[in-house]
Symmetry: C2
Subunit: 368 residues, 2 copies
């Protein structure tokens, strides 16, 4: 996509939904309801202006936003719709400064939509980038935290009018502990805004171009559908990824542990992969893909599970015994591969001290 994204319009939303869900690598929550809300705002005449990272002034104040809670609850308990807006206002009041732009903490899943929705409501632009380049389960796993920005003060807002400001913590792990506890009485879902960042910092620390990336990825799938081409091949071509396996889910172990969906799926290859045994470990997101007992694609690289027919992404909670899937590996952004990033989002951080991260081949992404 050569043109530069300056605004998200109604026509873009379906594609962004698909792209964001793919980048969710099984987690991040479902962007569907957020998409409908964005559409509603646009139909009221509001707009979602997008600015590229490069256009952020050094001293612009950028607030990172997202919904926090259990993805499953996000489906069952529909947001009031202004949770993130109220969290933004609470942060503005706490710091005494107005935001100049918004950015997604997490492009993967539902949090692709939240800052766009708030942008429409607040009359602010949303930055084309995010703090993960995918989905991760915890707040200290943003590139903001990894590259030195403290997320406090952070503000949480729920649909009942509760506002909680976490003003100080020893580090962002403690912020995660506190916020995770406080979100429970909030009905396991809230909008969250973290401490404003400068434009100069965001230009350096954000994973760039990820709204464009989600849009382009979703369009590739939709175009493939419209022209009867293979959507899976289209995703791989778009992302510089690799088809890891076409397979049937022959076993599924998934349970809730500490508020996370934890488990693994066992795969039996078919087609070109007949006779191969696969396994994917998950903790909200897909973490490690194993082939015949060897870890092959490892977090933070993206493991994506698509329906083998439609090419549409399947999230962790929608996995079922017997499903026929295509498993893709997509290389993560270089910002997630540095030593400081791997300490926070590498395999050891997810309970795999024995697995060393080996990067997939670098991305061949189109210029954005």
């Amino acid at each position: 996509m050569a043109e530069r994204l300056t605004e998200v319009t109604d026509a873009d939303l379906d594609a962004i939904e698909i792209g964001a869900a793919i980048l969710g690598t099984g987690g991040g929550g479902n962007p569907y309801i957020g998409k409908l809300r964005c559409r509603e705002e646009l139909r009221k005449g509001r707009r979602i202006p997008v600015i590229p990272l490069a256009d952020l002034a050094d001293d612009a104040l950028v607030v990172s936003l997202g919904g926090m809670g259990a993805p499953v609850v996000g489906v069952e308990k529909i947001e009031q719709g202004e949770e993130c807006l109220r969290a933004l206002r609470a942060i503005e009041r706490e710091t005494g400064r107005k935001a100049d732009a918004l950015i997604s903490a997490e492009i993967g899943g539902a949090n692709a939509m939240e800052p766009m929705l708030t942008a429409a409501q607040a009359g602010l632009p949303v930055v084309d980038g995010d703090g993960m380049g995918r989905a991760f389960p915890e707040m200290q796993m943003t590139t903001w935290s990894i590259y030195g920005h403290r997320a406090v003060p952070a503000a949480m807002a729920d649909e009942k009018g509760c506002i909680v400001v976490i003003r100080d913590t020893p580090d962002d792990h403690w912020l995660e502990h506190l916020a995770r506890a406080a979100v429970v009485p909030m009905g396991a879902a809230c909008g969250l805004a973290t401490a404003p960042m400068t434009g100069a910092f965001v230009r350096r620390a954000a994973v760039p171009g990820t709204i464009t990336q989600a849009l382009t990825l979703g369009r590739a799938v939709l175009d493939a559908h419209a022209t009867h081409r293979d959507p899976i091949a289209a995703v791989i071509a778009q992302e510089g990824g690799r088809l890891l396996m076409t397979a049937k889910i022959t076993d599924l172990e998934r349970h809730l542990k500490g508020g996370f969906a934890v488990g693994h799926l066992t795969l039996e290859g078919f087609g070109d992969f007949a006779g191969e045994a696969g396994r994917i470990d998950l903790q909200n997101e897909f973490l490690v893909f194993w082939r015949n007992g060897t870890a092959e694609v490892i977090v933070p690289d993206l493991i994506v599970v698509l329906d083998s027919d439609t090419g549409l992404p399947i999230t962790t909670e929608m996995l079922r015994y017997g499903q026929r899937i295509a498993v893709l590996g997509l290389p993560c952004h270089a910002l997630l591969r540095s030593p400081e990033a791997l300490r926070i989002v590498g395999p050891a951080a997810f309970g795999y001290p024995g697995i060393a991260y080996r990067p997939m081949p670098a991305a061949r992404r189109p210029a954005t």
Copy 2:
């Protein structure tokens, strides 16, 4: 005690500790460590000035303070010592106004000491009164909440430097839910300061003279010890209460439920009460005293369990099979007996919809 209390000195602390523990009716946490901290502050040359309710100016800003958490944790995890001071500073920053005086949310138990400690640290006076006149387990059970003051914004501070401000909630029950969840990652103990109150409101809503009351009560016990008189009779005389039973604990059922110690003790009377069967239900505090199957003393009136020899109070967690105890009923303050108070701290609020509150005879307390 005819003289008016203008300052708490080292010589008062042991008596206040005993009196506060008696007014804790089994709960409220142990005031022992708080007493040692107050003593330490006084020995450093700091002071704990006390002002009577009547001396509060209409527009004085009064902040209610207390420790929040599990009483058992308060014994095992010793406070850093400035939790309530940091919570006070957070509320001052949140509201942009400095406190003129401090007051205890709860005179019963450990929270008698917290505002005195903070008063010494902050150079502020502590008001002779509190928001419960005893101990209760939850935040909406203060006379502040009952008589119309909203407790938000409220600030919580722990020993690690975490500061959480609960800025808004639909009501004080929701504040309780949120704070109770947030205190868990704080190690189940924090200092808590609630929204500043005016002097005019506090004069009307506070249970008056309760520091003096704790001091006088404790002195009665200590004087009885020193003069070989009966400390139990001294407590009863001081408070206008009644000896309900001298008894042996023949069964003790106590478990943790939702963070509270819940259960009951079964009593077999001795002495003047030989042949009688008693029972005390508890939920952190003692709630209902039953004699031969009939509810006789009912929350919010105070049920106090003393060691039958020493007259010293026994808290819920220190109850043991076989202990010989004296059970006293002490009438609560009239502020807890109004219809609006009984909705919040009457038997139905504690899960006894079938029991109607019947007040004990009114207090015959000495003028304070």
